[in-house]
Amino acid sequence: MVTDWLIHAGLVALYLFLAMVIGLLFMGIARKITARIQNRVGPPIYQNFLDLGKLLAKKTNIKHNWIFDFAPLFGLGGVLLILAYLPMGGYIMLSGQGDLILLLYILAIPALGFALGSGASGNPNAGVGVMRALTLMLSYEMPFLIVILSLMIFYNTASLSVLLQKQMNYLWGIAALPISALAADIALQGMMAEKPFDIPIAPHEIASGPLVEFGGKYLGLLMLYSAGSIVVETSLFVDLFLGGGIVLNPTVYGTLAYFVNYLVWLALIFVVWMIAIFVNAVFPRFRIEQAFKFYWKWPTVIAIAGLVQAYVMSVFLGVVP
Amino acid sequence: MKAEQIFKELGLEFEKLKVKGNTLPRYKAEVKPEKLEEAIIKFKSNGFNHFVALSCIDWIKDEKFELVYHLFSYKEKEDVFLSIFLPRKEPKYKTLRHLFPQIETYEREIHEMFGVEFEGNDRLGEFILEDWDDMPPMRKDFDTVAYAKKKYESVPLIDEGGEKE
């Protein structure tokens, strides 16, 4: 029993490491594509690895107090925890042990740890930045939670692994609930804090908000945290709506299926990331009131429409996937 | 009400400045220091409610500072310069910031750059310059080249061997 537990742990570690590498790669690709949209040459794709290396190799690191260390610890640890609970490429890591509601609350651990660390830096810019981040969170959570509710009601399950199973057997989420998928993608833009919603990390207004006092190894680990959260948010969307990239049934094809599903999953999260990046490259930044009013108007209406559709299909038409 | 008429009512002799180009009409009058406030109040209540600038001229040869209060009227579209002369030794005058709030800033600058004392303005002190230790720099008898050489050339270069120059 211990051996397959070790294999399982090894595989989880491999998947987490791959997720981090993909995250950094995606940040590099995003900078390259944004540069090309602005008719610039843009940095090499592996630029973020160099930045990470430089940050970790800094000779002096500044810290304010012991609460300041919460940010990198909870940030990195928390994001790895979320990645462990998120099926990647059909490989159900821990999501068999925890359902979507647990995942929603684990999403808050790194965010809260990061907020504590930046609050402890004593810089008023950081306090304002965290306030904006929490207000933005309240705004995009409204459509996002309604979308997740409609998925749970339609597929009649709250466990992510069962949801993947049902999407494989029946219909992908995006085919069954297209309206909810649209609302989820709009909410995703705010969740990833991509422009027009990069209000918390606004370099021009509040000197990069919560990150104002982080440098050196702190900023390096927080870069790993943001790389991880890119993979988390994109693969959350893929798992909920695009069947988690499962094309070949693992029980039938065995380990080959895991490779193919992983590649399909990678392609799908790349597509979702590209949507976010293209929107990011061309939009200016909203003010926080505009972002709040925006999210509680149209995306919420779309999400409610998706909820009504899911409710009608599952209760009245008796469609059970 | 026209500027000339106000000057007549105040009994000030004024001159109409001849300026090249089609500028708006400009009048200049020299006022006794104690009568200045009353003149400004009169102008202010008759349309000249825009205080443009307060400037100080250093007449070093006849040992006098000239404070020029520049008013403008949007209705009449006319400029008025009321100026007073202060002795150069200890220039002292009362503050007029209660008439126009922005006068306080001009007074702070003139105090720092020329050394004119304005009683009643409690915010004089350090304003633009930082840790200034010499005479007010805008006065004509201040030698800026000598000061620059004394203050900045004398700072030694950092050198591994120790102090140089």
Partner: protein
């Protein structure tokens, strides 16, 4: 400011070379636009010259940055802020001074509140001459700085730590109070 001493045990030259390569390839810049040089930065960032292809991106705070750009004349008031920002940056850090004003005071050679030579107060790794250098000159300066870093010549930050007391004495000659 007692930085922890230089890490004495650097395992080998290889590690230092890698470290220099990394800090060369990802110079994060904080831009202290003191004078008229600020206008030269947008062309360097945008599509015509694009400094980001060398990994140089503008950052908002000194904590995150390792390259300080002083672009223009430095008044005594500004010098106090520049020194404070420079000290909040983390090692290894580099300074580039734009234009002739930081070199010898430029057109303000006789002014009473412009410092004449930035090098006396904070260690400058690279000067760019010109009464506001064109973007080509700035790009050339970036590349030269990267070459210096690679060869280990750009060690202004080591000089600042080694001769900290001399730098502090020079700074105190210009302004008397530090905490204001």
């Amino acid at each position: 400011m007692n930085e922890n001493p230089l890490p004495s045990i650097i395992p080998d030259k290889e590690w230092k070379k890698i470290q220099r390569m990394l800090s060369k390839r990802s110079l994060w810049m904080i831009h202290f636009c003191t004078g008229c040089g600020a206008m030269e930065m947008p062309p360097v960032m945008t599509s015509r010259y694009d400094m980001e292809r060398f990994g140089i991106i503008p950052m908002a705070t000194p904590r995150q940055a390792d390259l300080l750009l002083v672009t223009g004349y430095v008044a005594t008031k500004t010098l106090k802020r520049i020194v404070r920002v420079y000290e909040q940056m983390q090692d290894p850090k580099y300074v580039i001074a734009f234009g002739s004003c930081p070199i010898n005071g430029g057109i303000y050679w006789d002014s009473y509140n412009i410092i004449k030579r930035l090098d006396k107060y904070i260690p400058v790794d690279m000067y760019i001459a010109g009464c506001m250098p064109r973007p080509e000159a700035i790009m050339d300066a970036f590349l030269k700085l990267m070459k210096d870093i690679d060869e280990g010549k750009a060690n202004g930050w080591m000089r600042y730590r080694k001769y900290y007391d001399q730098y502090r004495r020079n700074q105190m000659r210009i302004f008397k109070r530090w905490d204001e």
